[in-house]
């Protein structure tokens, strides 16, 4: 069913009894051309673009819980393409361009809002670094503006500009950046993929990868064996676990990242702001809650919940940036398990097994990548060669010495 204002009206008149589920709940077939492990944003987007762009429709997405239960439903919904390095920027810009047309493409309201992403700076050195980043973005044809303190003050008068330790000197803004409804994105891709024949199979955990003569023949799951010609893995925080089923050790650690939402407030913050010095970022959801977060807890974890000391740290940083936050009540906090790669950059690549493909290492920033990741991963699976913008996101770059270290932190995942 195509969604439109007319369909809402019509269904309303019928007492909303005629709505159909947005995707089917099929039983697994014995064999698929492509099996995608992981029904997060990336797995679902991959299935969608495989069907839509590459005509491969005999596809299953296997999800161990329900779709949207992983990081795609846990993130703080920020989308942007303000990357410095040439290995990253064109990829994230491709993704942002896909975001810009996504709702029309999917016929689904993903509440994409290009409200701007502003990164504050607090010192001359940081201003130089942001100016460099902004220039690199512009050289790639991406919008970026450096704002001085007066311009930032006009936008967000309630920031603590005179903070003794981290005074605010200005910020770098990408106006095309913003937010999207994270579950809406998962649901929209699921519905789109399903409508082209993709089977989305929930509560189906992959427990082993069956191989014969050096090739994958299928996967053992909680719903039995399912065969496939190609296997694609996009399981975010569980990447090392699933890769181990194919005897691989990845350059990845799993870490917990927390996020928070406050009680609903009247319109207060109309963009995304990051506090360059204090490990804090915030935006306001359409319901009015402030959605915010900070750094990872810093230790390896599979627990999807974090530690009180990080909660305190994030909230202290928030109060340092916006003193008025001290009067706001936090409603909820949660954690997600992020796949931290050793250089902070993702991996979209083939593996030592010919028909096994890997999509991993998204760190805390893979939501914005969802459309681009799905598109490029589908390209790799369908054509057996990388899309031009993911050419450096190779699995063997660590061995070859071609790291893509956006932050320049070295192989220390809890610093990326």
């Amino acid at each position: 069913m195509r969604y439109s204002a007319f369909s809402i009206l019509l269904n309303g008149l019928r007492g909303n009894t005629a709505w159909k589920p947005a995707w089917r709940a099929p039983k697994p077939k014995p064999h698929y051309d492509v099996i995608i492990v992981g029904g997060g944003g990336h797995g679902l987007a991959t299935a969608y673009y495989l069907a839509k762009e590459f005509g491969i429709r005999n596809v299953a997405v296997l999800e161990k819980a329900y779709i949207g239960s992983g990081n795609v439903g846990r993130n703080t919904t920020i989308i942007r393409s303000n990357y410095l390095l040439p290995a990253n920027n064109p990829f994230y810009e491709l993704s942002l361009k896909l975001w810009e047309g996504l709702e029309q493409d999917l016929n689904f309201n993903a509440m994409i809002s290009q409200r701007g992403v502003l990164n504050l700076f607090h010192s001359d050195a940081q201003r130089d670094a942001y100016m460099r980043r902004g220039n690199a973005m512009r050289l790639h044809g991406v919008d970026a503006d450096l704002l001085d303190r007066t311009k930032v003050r006009q936008m967000l008068p309630f920031l603590d500009f005179e903070n003794a330790r981290f005074p605010i000197h200005g910020g770098l803004i990408q106006r095309r950046g913003g937010t999207a409804r994270h579950d809406g994105v998962a649901w929209g891709y699921a519905r789109g993929a399903d409508s082209m024949g993709v089977d989305i199979i929930q509560e189906c955990e992959v427990t082993a990868i069956r191989r014969e003569n050096g090739k994958v023949t299928g996967v053992e799951t909680s719903k039995g064996f399912i065969g496939c010609s190609k296997l694609a893995v996009a399981v975010a925080g569980n990447s090392s676990q699933v890769a181990a089923m194919a005897d691989m050790r990845l350059p990845i650690e799993s870490h917990v990242l927390q996020a928070f939402v406050s009680e609903g407030l009247k319109p207060f913050i109309d963009c995304v702001v990051t506090f360059g010095a204090g490990h804090f970022y915030v935006s306001q959801s359409d319901k009015g809650g402030l959605v915010f977060g900070g750094d990872m807890d810093g230790y390896n974890s599979y627990a999807q919940r974090g530690n009180l000391s990080t909660v305190e740290h994030v909230i202290e940083a928030g109060k340092a940036m916006i003193p008025a936050l001290s009067r706001v009540r936090v409603l909820r906090s949660w954690g997600g398990i992020v796949d931290m790669s050793m250089d902070g950059t993702p991996i979209i690549d083939r593996t030592h097994i010919d028909n096994l493909y890997l999509n991993a290492g998204w760190c805390y920033g893979g939501f914005k990548a969802t459309p681009g990741s799905g598109f490029c991963f589908a390209h790799l699976i369908a054509r057996n060669e990388p899309h031009a913008v993911t050419r450096e996101m190779r699995l063997d770059r660590f061995e070859r010495g071609y790291l893509v270290d956006e932050k320049g932190q070295g192989a220390q995942p809890n610093l990326h």
Partner: protein
């Protein structure tokens, strides 16, 4: 994460006093070769379960510790000084 870490020198101390570094791996010899170093610097078992990692008692005795922790439950099994290769405080 458990909120207390048993420092072998200071006793049970709040987690806030410590800084985490990451996997407690055995450093290869300088001439161990390319694969050993690739392994040490970049590749990880990343287990779900028991895990040895380095924590620094930054606001305490300032010793480096090896803390044995479960990455799925966050429970801490014990900690020892990095210099003491074997004994672990429970």
């Amino acid at each position: 994460m458990a909120s207390l870490i048993p420092c072998p020198h200071c006793g049970q101390r709040p987690r806030e006093e410590f800084t985490v570094k990451g996997a407690a791996l055995v450093r290869p010899a300088a001439d161990a070769g390319r694969n050993a170093w690739l392994d040490y610097v970049y590749l990880r078992d990343n287990p779900r379960g028991r895990y040895d990692e380095h924590w620094h008692h930054t606001s305490g005795c300032r010793r480096w510790l090896v803390v044995t922790r479960d990455t799925a439950t966050h429970e801490i099994e014990g900690a020892r000084d990095t210099a003491a290769r074997t004994e672990t405080v429970e």
